[in-house]
């Protein structure tokens, strides 16, 4: 039947972008139409395993997803930066190659690990060093030394200084790991529009973030333009780590300088820093934050029917919210909503608000040829909503 085939084809060429409700934290999964899976950040809070808390039991949910797809690995796991709310729980969930005790036992494998250079370099004093971060840094260094299953974004001098003697000691050339370093302004190898229906354009980090010495975690974070190809139609997903407005400004100006303006446009925007005003300006504003000019430019590059996702706690519009110090900030939300409306975008969604704040569910976007749609998790209404079969005479055939 022709329309049945069309439907099957349509489903087959649909990518999914899933945002998990992990509180003021990030976890996003991209499921490509041909099956490959990319996970960006990981935030599993211990208390989420308790049914009473709204945060999703991420480990359980991801495991269920992978089980259903008969997999025990992600093609890529990318940690945009080393803040706890982007890595929490990861070292218990994933298999780490550098030590046997972090392997087996149902751990999920990471086929390729993507990390910003900062994650290999950060030298935090013992007190502020979280166990999680230390393990991940060790893992990243291990993979880089072994020369496989990792991509490191930007190659600051400090990292080269650390790496090269070690390579020489192994009897390898100093440039032996060059192919594992990705610079901003390039497309990440391993994925292509043709083969996978996706390409990852790296906006950040820049070398200067690390070379300036003290690494500011957020600035040196991964920022991508993820371009999805659905049957020939292209859709852009802007994935930002916890960048501040000045970082965004730099990204905008550098990208424009290199005439890559199209890499700034977006159909999906994962806004940085859990809806903090600092991603727009250094002043919160009383009712609404005013973005700096370049950030405003970025906001106005949203395409029609675009969505903004805030991976954060709920952002209600009440008196108390306006006085909040920690993100999310209602003033920032107001700003985003204003510009979203101006570009003809659809909705500003908050991960911890959908479908309600008590038990939020992942926000699932489907990216198909005809556009980006948000499929609601709750099927509202009784089975009466489903298509009912018309009465038939006889054995499933109609009578003329």
């Amino acid at each position: 039947m022709q329309s049945l085939e069309n439907r099957e084809n349509a489903v087959a060429n649909m990518h999914q972008v899933i945002f998990y409700p992990v509180g003021n934290g990030d976890t996003t999964q991209i499921v490509l139409s041909k099956g490959r899976r990319v996970l960006l950040d990981f935030c599993h809070r211990g208390k989420s395993e308790d049914d009473d808390t709204p945060e999703i039991d991420l480990k359980k949910r991801l495991r269920e997803d992978l089980d259903a797809a008969d997999r025990d690995y992600f093609d890529v796991v990318a940690f945009t930066h080393a803040d706890l709310d982007h890595i929490q729980g990861s070292t218990e969930f994933f298999e780490l190659q550098h030590a046997k005790k972090y392997q087996g036992d149902g751990r999920i494998k990471i086929r390729e690990l993507w990390v910003p250079a900062a994650m290999l370099l950060e030298d935090v004093d013992r007190d502020s060093q979280t166990e999680e971060f230390a393990l991940l840094r060790r893992e990243a260094r291990h993979r880089l030394l072994e020369g496989k299953d990792i991509l490191v974004f930007s190659k600051p001098k400090a990292l080269a200084d650390w790496l090269e003697p070690l390579l020489v000691a192994r009897g390898e050339a100093k440039s032996a790991r060059d192919h594992l370093f990705i610079d901003a302004g390039t497309i990440v190898p391993g994925f292509s529009l043709l083969a996978d229906g996706v390409e990852f354009f790296c906006h950040s980090p820049f070398i200067k973030h690390c070379d300036e010495g003290d690494i500011i975690r957020n600035s040196a974070a991964l920022v991508f333009n993820v371009r999805l190809d659905a049957d020939g139609e292209l859709y852009d997903y802007l994935e930002v780590g916890d960048a501040e407005y000045c970082d965004l400004e730099e990204i905008v100006s550098i990208t424009k300088f290199h005439k890559n303006d199209d890499r700034l446009a977006w159909d999906l925007f994962n806004i940085p820093h859990h809806c903090s005003y600092r991603a727009l300006n250094d002043e919160k504003g009383e009712r609404e934050t005013t973005p700096t000019p370049l950030v405003k430019e970025l906001l106005l590059l949203g395409k029609a029917d675009a969505y903004i996702v805030s991976c954060s706690k709920p952002v209600p519009d009440n008196k108390a919210a306006y006085e909040e110090v920690q993100p999310p900030h209602i003033q920032a939300r107001k700003a985003y909503e204003r510009y979203l409306k101006e570009v003809g975008g659809r909705k500003f969604l908050v991960t911890m608000e959908e479908p309600n704040a008590t038990k939020p569910e992942p926000i699932v976007f489907e990216v198909g040829k005809a556009g980006v749609t948000w499929t609601r998790s709750a099927s509202i209404g009784a089975p009466g909503i489903l298509v009912s079969r018309p009465p038939r005479a006889g054995h499933g055939r109609y009578v003329l």
């Binding site: 039947m1 022709q2 329309s3 049945l4 069309n6 439907r7 349509a10 139609e233 029609a304 029917d305 659809r346 909705k347 198909g368 040829k369 005809a370 556009g371 980006v372 749609t373 948000w374 499929t375 609601r376 509202i380 209404g381 009784a382 009466g384 909503i385 298509v387 009912s388 079969r389 018309p390 005479a393 006889g394 054995h395 055939r397 109609y398 009578v399 003329l400």
Partner: protein, 572 residues
Amino acid sequence: MADTFYELCNVTEIASAEALTIPRARALFNAIERHRDYSIVQLLQQTKDGAPTIECLIVDVECDGVPSKNQFGIAYRERLALCVPSDPKRLIDVLALRRDFPELMHLNQGLPGAPASLCLYFESPAAVLRTWTPPAFLRRIQWWLERSARGELHPADQPVEQMFFASQYELILPWNYAKLREDLSARFVVFKGPERPNGGFTCYMEAVSGAVADAKTAAHIDLLLPPVTHGFIEHNPGTLGELSDILGKRSVDLIGLLRDMIQTKVDEKGAIESPDDKATVIVVLIPIRRSAEADPDGIMRRAFFVPSGIVEVGIATGALFKYDGRYFRDSTNSEPTTAWRDLPVLLMDVLTKNDGASARRQSAVLEEGPTGVLVGAGSLGSALLNLWGRSGFGRWSVIDDDHIKPHNLSRHVAFAQHIGQAKATVVAELHDATMEGATRIAPITADASDFSQQPVAQVLNVASLVVDASTTLEYPRAASANDALPRHCSTFVTPDGNGAVLLMEDVKRSQRLRTLEAQYYREIIQCKRLPTTPVSHRSDLLRCAPVFNGAQRWSAIRSFGRATWRHGRAVA
């Protein structure tokens, strides 16, 4: 922006929700206020004699499931009018107010130039209203828009849309209409049946030869149209003009075809207006396909009853002209008249009488069944033949040498008028009265045990299965001794009337009925579950089995009959 939306007529604006009086409208308003995807634009009201008849809520709705570039033309944000009638038994009308809202299936019949109405439900209004709530209704609208935008609203296995709605008026065609049509000299008449209490009536098309007397008949025209791709359901045309416009939108020139047809019916000698010729039936055959590239899936037949004779229609369409009291072909008329546009038409449903294939389809009988012989046209045999015959199962000959007596009527399918007639013949006649020759049962009045008789020998020769419903012992035992006979099975109802027995031979006939009969006795004796009443030698006792529940009888016999055939195949 203002003229991108339709404006509703005959309505006045209401200032606020407090002015809404219809309960459903208020409930809907509250639900809309609480719903994040809906926003109220305007409230309107239509009144009659001071009381509101319809209250309309104009809303904007956003559907996140609608892809932005969907090929069907549905927008993320649509403006709708939710028209709540004061009659609580009627559904709420949902109108799409955007002027360029696409034409889709699942839109209710609408007039051109007016907002389309969304056909949200598949069930009848009564069924929908039983579980209707405002939030579910609002979600249903979004569901409709989202599914339509993906082209998923019409499940692929659902029959292709009808082009017109069902009607009160019917035209019944003979089962072999297509075949009869091939004979160009065939003449058909359409008889009009009596009107039913609700005003509908049924017409019957029959092939005739010679003159037909007084019955009111109509002339008849048959049109085969080019295939149409199923699209939205058209509204019922009330005049020939509207019908022509509907078909014209599907690239069909109805009037041109009508004119051609009329002209071929009238020869050089012309035609005269006849008092019989008071009505015209236009039968339209429309092949329907799912998409422009697909082959047609089925053929829609529609008939339109025009209460004017073919001559009158010919004049109105400019196909004929009147000269000297006769009507001739008018091929010079380059100025087509439009008088025909106002001729009224009544839409008719076209139904076809059953033939074997359609009977089987309706009964979910997949196989054609055997060429069989039924021995015994008594109560059981007549019941078997009634069900098998009506459902198109098998090609039967029936043998019985008995005739109908009054006491038979307590169970036999025969009627009182048949008393005294041979049972086999009665059964065959009743079948003919049902199927009108589409399938036939061949009656033989003879003693089936006499295998040497000609008609008996003949049918036994060609049969693949013989069903013994004679309720005697002579026939099955005799058949068991004859090697030349086809496979047999024997059936009877138990004396207490609560069970049916089937004795089935294998294909090779290695175990014959007499063996199975003995096994049956052993079962009764040994098995405590079966009725202990022994089977009597006396067949008349069996025939006079006590009356029992009719429903039991029917279900027993019906599944029995099916089991006979299927069971046999399984064993084989």
